[in-house]
Amino acid sequence: MSFESFAEFIDMGGHGLYVWLSYAIALVVIVINIVNPLMHKRHIFTEQARRLRREKQS
């Protein structure tokens, strides 16, 4: 452990903003890259299911 207290951990020796911002952006990028295809998948499946149903009707 290189930090004595939790407050120090948050502060990161005065560079807290920079460090935490970086990790936050990283998290955002990762989440976007996972969530976006998952939502797209839902979209495709509903779309295609609707198309199949329509084709069956006609």
């Binding site: 951990f9 990161m12 005065g14 560079h15 460090v19 970086s22 952006i25 990028v29 295809p37 998948k41």
Partner: protein, 250 residues
Amino acid sequence: MADKKWMPRWFYQLASPRWCYEITGKLLPLFVIAAILLLVTGTVWALAFAPADYQQGNSFRIIYIHVPSSILAQSCYMLMAVAGAIGLIWKMKVADMVAKCCAPIGASIAVLSLATGAIWGKPTWGSWWVWDARLTSMLILFFLYLGIIALNSAIESERTAAQSTAVLALVGLVNIPIIKYSVDWWNTLHQPATFKLTERPAMPAEMWVPLLVMVIGFYCFFAVAMMLRLRNEIIQRERRSSWVRDLIAG
């Protein structure tokens, strides 16, 4: 497909979207677990346990995001170009799809690299942005990604889009060695390479081992993101084949 009997069997199989869909389905959970494990341990290690740099203090911890994302952004580009080339030469549909999926992921990773670099630059160099060779070539990489995305979305026909972007990606490949060697060719503000194949890293092990963990974790994350997109793309393009119909109906 007439006279390509010399190719190994797995190459054929890879060319089949259906086989690809099934195999990625099996691989996906493995990579998800690996990515989570590696990224979580890496992050905790990086943030809490790795020692602070004697010069840069704790801002140094940005390296654990910055370097993996920088490396990944370039690898992703290379993958895109190679997949594009395979698609061009052997007309392999799956390769086209892989290439297409690379662009948005790569662009977002490039943004991450640029953003973390910029954030890191503020405490170390005193400014968000300097026009140094490595930074510039990284920015060019990002622009190349944008160009490829723009070109891809501008062409309606899927085949034509795939082929055109493959050509562009191959042309843009010249940028990769420039990024890599910019720090060696010009004396710049930016750090030279940490990992070299021939030497041991100059950092202490407590610093570079978590970095290695993060790098591998990022690659696993990339694999996950890639497979998710690829599977969507396969379904989208094969939507009229019977197995996709069954998949959706059942």
